[in-house]
């Protein structure tokens, strides 16, 4: 039995549907990412799991217990917010201690001055716990500061500390890295993964950044227009997307798509070239997708285009080609050595390995295809 399961969650804000019958199971200790463009309902889904938002229909179960009607404070989850939501009037230590104070102390023990005197042991234990968490996150020197005196990355750690200080069933994170600058974001990505390995806790992470989803998660759920389109390990989703929407959303730069056609004999025709690829089925219009790293510059290539733009990333160079008959530019990933000669306006021939392509029908669903064993590689 999974640790957290959400079943047929439906939610709409007024007339606008936000989630349509969405279900998801999360196993213990998993790092699950909900990824999708803004407005796809991923944050609402997380808030429904947390209990901060009520679903119109559906059920939330945590550790086998139906918590749909239970308030957030009683669900034993911890959340890290996009804005960090630190209490600005409390010091870092007090911020981290707040969940402990609220849960472990009665009203008398929470009183200022007398509280610590009445329940001295409890307060000492709480201070030790805060100290431990601060040690883990390396924020011990900051404990006496106020959130207003911290940088974005430091606030991020404090927010994590506040979530970590007790042992919740799961950590919910709502775009926690989106307010950081690019370098820090990449750094925190590694740190969050490290933290997940160390804590062995369940993480449910919401992001619009497919790179965060790909780098950190054990499993990711791609959401769009209020539906989960595909759930699976990042590698599966990248290599084997279930639909054109998923293929387009995951991967940067975006997957190249070319219009094609399946002719009467089941052969795939692309930009006037009949390929060896065989599709079972009727004559129909299809879309072929191929990722930039699967396109190779080759003198004998069957396709060609003109260089219109170069993006130099140091380790890789992305070359944008204008190809006759293709609605959008085709992007190739090249090693810097290969691309030295390619000025703007250069004519380039390219090709791909037939096993590297993805085919989608007119509705965007994946099409199966076969190809003869011997192919011009």
């Amino acid at each position: 039995m999974s640790q957290i399961s959400l079943r047929t969650i439906t939610k709409s804000f007024g007339e606008t549907p936000v989630l349509n019958n969405v279900s998801l199971d999360i196993e213990e200790g998993e790092f699950v990412t909900l990824v999708g463009p803004s407005g796809c309902g991923k944050s609402t889904f997380l808030r429904i799991l947390a209990g901060l938002e009520a679903a119109d229909a559906g059920q939330v179960e945590i550790q086998g217990r139906d918590v749909t009607a239970i308030r957030p404070a009683d669900r034993n989850l911890a959340m890290v917010f996009q804005s960090y939501a630190l209490y600005p009037h409390l010091s870092v230590a007090q911020n981290i201690m707040t969940p402990l104070r609220m849960r472990d102390l009665n009203r008398l023990g929470r009183l200022p001055v007398i509280g610590p005197l009445l329940s001295r042991a409890a307060h000492r234990k709480m201070r030790d716990q805060v100290g431990e968490v601060a040690e883990t996150l390396q924020i011990t020197p900051l404990l006496d500061r106020k959130p207003g005196q911290l940088s974005g990355g430091q606030r991020q750690r404090v927010a994590l500390g506040r979530a970590m200080v007790r042992q919740p069933v799961a950590f919910l994170m709502d775009e926690p890295l989106s307010n950081l600058d690019a370098a820090l974001r990449v750094h925190m990505r590694a740190e969050l993964s490290e933290l997940h390995r160390r804590l062995q806790a369940t993480f449910v992470y919401v992001t619009h950044d497919q790179a965060e989803a790909l780098t950190m998660s054990d499993r990711m759920a791609v959401m769009m227009h209020g539906d989960i389109l595909q759930v699976g390990p990042p590698n599966d989703i990248y290599r084997n997307p279930a639909s054109l929407d998923v293929a387009r959303f995951i991967g940067s730069p975006r997957i190249n798509t070319l219009p094609g056609e399946v002719n009467g004999t089941g052969g795939l025709e692309l930009l006037g070239v009949t390929t060896e690829t065989r599709v079972r089925g009727l004559r129909q219009a299809v879309t072929m997708g191929v990722r930039p790293e699967h396109l190779h510059m080759r003198v004998t290539g069957r396709f060609s285009g003109t260089v219109r733009h170069r993006e130099n990333l140091g380790s890789d160079i992305f070359v944008h080609l204008e190809v006759a008959g293709a609605p959008a530019k085709v992007v190739l990933r090249l090693a810097p050595a290969e691309a030295v000669e390619l000025g703007l306006g250069t004519r380039v021939a390219f090709d791909f390995n037939p096993t590297d392509i993805l085919l989608f029908d007119a509705t965007g669903a994946r099409l199966a295809f076969t190809h003869p064993a011997r192919e011009v590689a």
């Binding site: 947390a50 404070a73 917010f81 209490y87 600005p88 009037h89 207003g148």
Partner: protein, 306 residues
């Protein structure tokens, strides 16, 4: 090389205006407070601190301080408390919030002098609605309350014209008139609290409304509260028009409502005793100054979060 003096042109106008319309009048008032000047006299003689000595020794001025502080220490806590309470209630409403907001804010917008006349009718001992309503309660269980029984036996208080009740009645009207203003300030403060903090409080286990108030609302309203309390103090020290409307002569029964502003007006304008009027003004200024300094200190020490 001579230093450029162009900066004088930038700060000059503001500096000049500040001196002419603020600093110099205060200095003149300070100077006048040391003389026995009357408007129209060609000269005045220097009397030293005699005016101040009077303010702190004569019984009239003792009454003045009594009335002022009674008014201030009733009106400030009540307007702040009621303002906060009304703001929290309205904030928790979905639909009729704007309606309540308008209703509570009406007394603030109304001219106090006109309202004073209405209240004067309401508190009239014989034809006023207050005492008429109280008389209806005679003969009921309310008579078990001694004060009420006495009222039925003889008459109910004269409210505005009884020296034991006058200052409290005036304070009541001050509260009625003033809390809507604080409510609006608190409402503005409440809208600036990020909703994610309440979400965080809920996740952290703050279950009751009181917990949320203690953890989030009250601390985050800190800057608003400092401002509201200061402005309420200053407004209460300044109360004048109501007293002038109720008691054009002499500041109420046995001078029990002889507040500072009215004293300044009576001495300086009505009796043309500029010296003593200026001295009360200086004392008044000192109070406001102390309040402002306390506010600055609080803002910098406690409630400055960012």
């Amino acid at each position: 090389m001579p230093q450029s003096r162009v900066y004088l042109w930038f700060i000059g106008p503001a500096l000049l205006l500040m001196c002419v319309i603020l600093l110099i009048p205060i200095l003149i008032a300070g100077g006048l407070s040391l003389t026995d000047y009357s408007l129209g006299n060609t000269g005045a003689s220097f009397v030293g601190l005699e005016n101040y000595e009077r303010i702190f020794t004569r019984s009239t001025y003792e009454k003045m301080f009594g009335a002022t502080f009674r008014y201030v220490f009733v009106v400030v806590p009540l307007t702040v408390g009621l303002g906060l309470g009304a703001a929290l209630l309205i904030d928790s409403l979905g639909r009729f919030g704007d309606l309540y907001k308008t209703i509570y804010f009406l007394p603030v917008m109304a001219a106090l002098i006109a309202m004073a006349i209405v209240w004067e009718f309401a508190f009239h001992p014989t034809i006023g609605i207050v005492n008429a309503t109280l008389e209806r309660g005679c003969g009921t269980v309310l008579e078990r309350w001694d004060w009420y029984a006495q009222g039925c036996e003889r008459t109910f208080p004269l409210w505005l014209n009884d020296r034991d009740y006058a200052i409290w009645t005036v304070s009541f009207i001050g509260v009625w008139q003033g809390f809507g203003f604080n409510m609006v300030l608190y409402l503005a403060g409440l809208t600036s609290i990020p909703p994610s903090l309440y979400d965080a409080a809920e996740m952290d286990g703050a279950k009751s409304g009181w917990d949320r108030f203690r953890l989030v609302t009250w601390p985050l309203l800190g800057p608003t509260t400092v401002f509201v309390v200061t402005i309420s103090f200053i407004r209460s020290f300044q109360v004048f028009d109501m007293v002038e409307a109720f008691y054009p002569q002499g500041g109420g029964p046995s001078k029990s409502v002889y507040v500072m502003m009215f004293a300044i007006y009576e001495k300086g304008i009505q009796q043309n005793l500029m010296g003593i009027g200026a001295a009360i003004t200086v004392v008044f200024l000192a109070f406001v100054m102390i309040l402002t300094l306390i506010q600055r200190w609080l803002v910098e020490r406690r409630t400055h979060y960012v």
